[in-house]
């Protein structure tokens, strides 16, 4: 029966797009309402909760002492993990990470890592050990476009992060060196393709109707990550158009991030 509902909703979404409309009245390249709070988790070194439409993700940052990875001995460690909590959606279950939650955290991680915004080379400690930054994401409410909400929460948590003091490779949990150094701000923008229409920030109904998605991560000057998901296809011209749109719509997200460090 669920399939029937989905089909009806899908044809309704398509019917509206034909008339250049969306279910919630948005323009094709308009985000839903965004809200962002940060620094509300006292036990974390950095935290934030982001909401795009109904979708809500909380992010927290913790530091540990670790050994550098043998494949990258000159750098500290960044580990990004995500959990899709069952309270967020009927479609989420308890259990080991699913391919969707793995992809979610890896795409968010990719932008932050390849945008080189965290100076991981400064995380090395004297005795061959290194600081490890754990960036953990929990989905609290799932209403479509998880990745953009998650990456917004992640970036806000990083901007909110204080670097703890370290003595003899022990983290002093209540003393801080100052804010975590960040070289740039990375955000993602996700577009859905529904019957040859391209839209920004798909809602859950629009996700169910979509053929495929393109998530593009941007720093100030570069595209730093991209991921196509879903089984439909994009044309080259569409990809190039969306890269342009990603740089343009990035500004809508920066509004919420720019003042965190003020």
């Amino acid at each position: 029966m669920e399939d029937v509902h989905k089909k009806i909703r899908k044809s309704y979404v398509e019917f509206l797009l034909e008339k250049n409309e969306r279910m919630d009245g948005r323009d094709f390249f308009e985000f839903r309402e965004i809200s962002l709070e940060y620094g509300m988790i006292g036990t974390a070194e950095g935290s934030a909760i982001a909401k795009i439409g109904k979708t809500t993700v909380i992010a927290g940052v913790k530091f540990e002492i670790s050994e550098p990875f043998p494949s990258d001995p000159e750098k500290g460690i960044l580990i990004t993990n995500a959990e899709f909590l069952p309270l967020a959606s009927e479609s989420f279950d308890l259990g080991p990470p699913t391919e969707k939650s793995i992809e979610f955290s890896r795409v968010i991680d990719r932008g932050i890592r390849h945008g080189e915004i965290i100076p991981l080379e400064k995380f090395l400690l004297d005795d061959g050990k290194a600081l490890a930054l754990f960036l953990d994401l929990y989905v609290l409410d799932y209403g479509g476009n998880l990745i953009d909400t998650g990456s917004l929460a992640a970036m806000a948590a990083l901007l909110n992060t204080k670097l703890p003091k370290v003595e003899d490779s022990v983290i002093l949990r209540d003393e801080y060196q100052g804010p975590l150094e960040l070289r740039d701000i990375v955000v993602t923008t996700t577009f859905a393709k529904i019957k040859d229409r391209l839209i920004l920030d798909p809602s859950l109904e629009e996700e169910d109707a979509a053929d495929c998605f393109l998530t593009i991560g941007t720093s100030s000057n570069y595209m730093v990550s991209a991921q196509k998901t879903g089984s439909g296809t994009f044309k080259k011209e569409e990809v190039l158009e969306l890269v342009d749109k990603a740089f343009e719509k990035r500004k809508d997200l920066l509004k919420y991030l720019n003042n965190i460090r003020d």
Partner: protein, 251 residues
Amino acid sequence: MDEKKVELLKDGKRISGRAFDELREVKIKLGVLDEADGSSYIEWGNNKVIVGVYGPKEVIPRHMENPSKAILKCNYSMVTFCSKEEHGKMGPNRRSVELSKVIREALEGIVETNLFPRTQIEIYMVVLEADAGTRIASFLGAVAALLDAGIPIKDIAVGIAAGKVGGKVVVDLDKDEDNFGEADFPVALTRTGDILLLQMDGKLTKEEVEEALGLIFEKSEVLLSKLREAVEEKYSKEVVKELKFSNKIIK
């Protein structure tokens, strides 16, 4: 950054001696396994990938059945001795789970799943030796193995990666270029230019994205004709065999 440039580019060429738009040698062979319904073996530079396809067959577990189309089950895995560095771990990891997903979604764009409702098609891709570009080599192997299995597809497709090395946009990165380069941009596309798979990490400007896509589209022709040759080789042999047999009977 400057050190890396010296390392990866010498006299305006890549350290492998390849031109910026030059692919490594690619060999494709269909029908390499006996038990699988379709199979292929790919050598792409030093990458070695073997692919087996089963199905369409009964869906297990039953509740995963789709009454209107076949479901695809894709598994990308690496053997524990396939990389130059440390001994790998057995079993799935986060990377292989993600790559299996993006390859599956790419194949869903071409396989005629609507012809086989309530069935599953299994695609197993095993990387035997890795030298960067294993996901697109695996994708190529999967398309070849599906063709070998005789599973209808809408169009043939290939994967190809572009990237940035020493500030230059290049195609088909090898391991050193992937590790020390500035961007990796794997894409899979059909003959008609429909993009089935697209991932990217690194730093590319809008202009570089355009240049990279241009190179990918241009060089995909080379791979598409190799794939066509491999299919022709396999099927012409079989047709010849068949003809000889029927000749005897007719005679």
